[in-house]
């Protein structure tokens, strides 16, 4: 398998992991919205309410930065990262 194919394979697995986490915070937890809202969560807000106001939104911000760093590592590993002057 060529260098490029290996790079793409790793990139694709990173995508699947990223989308899986995305799915949990954007869709998964809201399947149980009613049940989860009965429980008190962070800062004393009901859990579901907190996720819609802050939790999921913040998780997305962190997820994107995490994804960007992981992808940079993959690019470096296979020598595909960009030079600064490009």
């Amino acid at each position: 398998m060529s260098n490029q194919q290996k790079h793409w394979e790793k990139t694709r697995s990173l995508l699947f992991i990223t989308l899986a986490i995305w799915f949990v915070f954007s869709i998964g937890i809201f399947l149980f919205g009613a049940e989860m809202n009965e429980v008190t969560g962070p800062f004393g807000y009901p859990w579901t309410y907190w996720f819609t106001c802050q939790g999921s939104l913040g998780a997305f911000v962190i997820l994107i930065f995490w994804f960007a760093n992981r992808q940079e590592k993959i690019d470096e590993e296979f020598g595909f990262s960009e030079r600064e002057d490009e």
Binding site: N37, Y45, C53, F60, V61, A68
Partner: protein
Amino acid sequence: MKGNFIDNLPKVYGIYTGGFIGFIIIMAIAEQMGMTAKAIGIAFVAFTVFIYALIGWLSRTAQADAYYVAGRQVPTVFNGMATAADWMSGASFVAMAGGIYFKGYGYMALLVGWTGGYVLVASLLAPYLRKFGCYTVPDFIGTRYGGNLARFSAVVVLTVASFTYVTAQINATGTIASVALDIPFQYAVYVGLISILLCSMLGGMRGVTWTQVAQYIVLIIAYLLPVFWISNKMGAGFFPHFMLADEVARIGELEQQFGFVKNAAADLKSVPKGLAGITKAHSAVNATPWAFISLALAMMMGTASLPHVMMRYFTTPSVKAARKSVGWSLFFIFLLYSSAPMLATLSKLSLIDPNLPTGIIGKTFAEVEAIDWYQNWNQANLMFISDFNGNGTLELNEFFMGGKAVVLATPEIAGLPYVISGLVAAGGMAAAMSTADGLILAIANAISHDVYYKIIDPKAETAKRLLVARVLLVIIGFAGATIAAMEIQGILGSVIWAFDFAMSGLFFPLVLGVWWKRANRQGAIAGMLGGLIAGAWYLVWVRTGGSGFLGITQLTFGIFGSAVSLVLMVVVSLMTAEPDKATQKMVDDVRVPSGKTILGKSH
């Protein structure tokens, strides 16, 4: 100042922010010295619009690269701010807190959808389209799939989605300009339009980028300052985001105590159009999982398909910067979106809690009618009370308010000085202008670059291309303003439709263009046109009394459109020949961040 403009950006915008805060302080002092509310409103809007126009003029350019993609040198964080301003429209700024105030949980699907979509942008599209080196979104479609028909189909989808969106934004600038400058809406729309064009016409994407950064700074100060101030003034907590749990619980208690009394249809007839009462619980789960998830999903896929957002990531210096920039964009959006539910909570509690001095529920009608702010907002057609049960006391179901009032009126209700209301008007104007600019530019660039230059006259010189682009900008702006002046739809409804149109026609052709090598021209054309037509058909069908299916409503019709698009694209691609070797090689190159862009620096 030493060094070039890009190196000095933090300093330039630091001075700008300081200057703006200084302006707010001067206005506050002027208010104390007797400047009228009307003069303060005019000063805020006129001063900020003047600054944007100045930036637009300073960014003028005659180069295609600067006009279309701001010279591809916008640093990560600043591009994040510009994208956030591009993204957060008049609807986000003025209408969102109101939507949460009235509809609670079911509405907050939009918060999740309008942020979660950026994960898709970062992981599926933005870095690859940046590597591609295109000027516009149809540029990618046209080169990846080849052929004028594919390019043209992409322009059609882009225009339908963006135009639906832009009329709403011009409408919002008109609303704010008419309130702040005290002129009729029909004229105010054109005042708004001219302000918008001043930012974009001379400098194209470069002008829009630097005005959007300036607009972000204004809008975020204008949104956060009142939220923190009100929270502190009410004694609800000095950092509202972490400290409003008691207030949320108290609203739940009051809702139990008052109950949601259903009004008779005959009584509701007397309520002015556009105003609503509180009929849904504030923090309880009041929507089915599918209603919530389908709306969030439609907004997320729409986010990843809207061209005015995608093209912001064409302006970064590298692929790596494009990825990081998506993260910064969402961070800057998060600052406002996470504050909207807090503002809705503070606004609702201050109005309905009888224990607070501002609470009006439980007071007599004579008392409420004597309050200054009630008279003002009643006159502006944003508040209304009526004694349906004739007991002389205001009940929860007898109080009606417009969605915009939550953002516009809460500072006044909480007793903040008028300077804050002026600031909020400037913020709303900045939010609506920045989005309108991005959208008009997306449409004009697609038509000038993809239709005129790539299809009609590929030999045109740069000067002529940019002239065409600018003429189109003006024409599209005026067309948008003319439709906006007719006031056909509400702001929020048409914004949501724009997302549905974009995802119906563009989501899968864009994503599969990068992630599925086998996708070919025939499949993409079928996917774009089929998806758009299917989505539009569903919308018309539901609007004209159709029952719909699978719980897909007129707000989520993009789910149906994009499903049709996916099926058509896969089936037609597999039935026809696979893309040629050169195209497959191109897809391989797109997937690797290093090396030259696919399209040349100037094309």
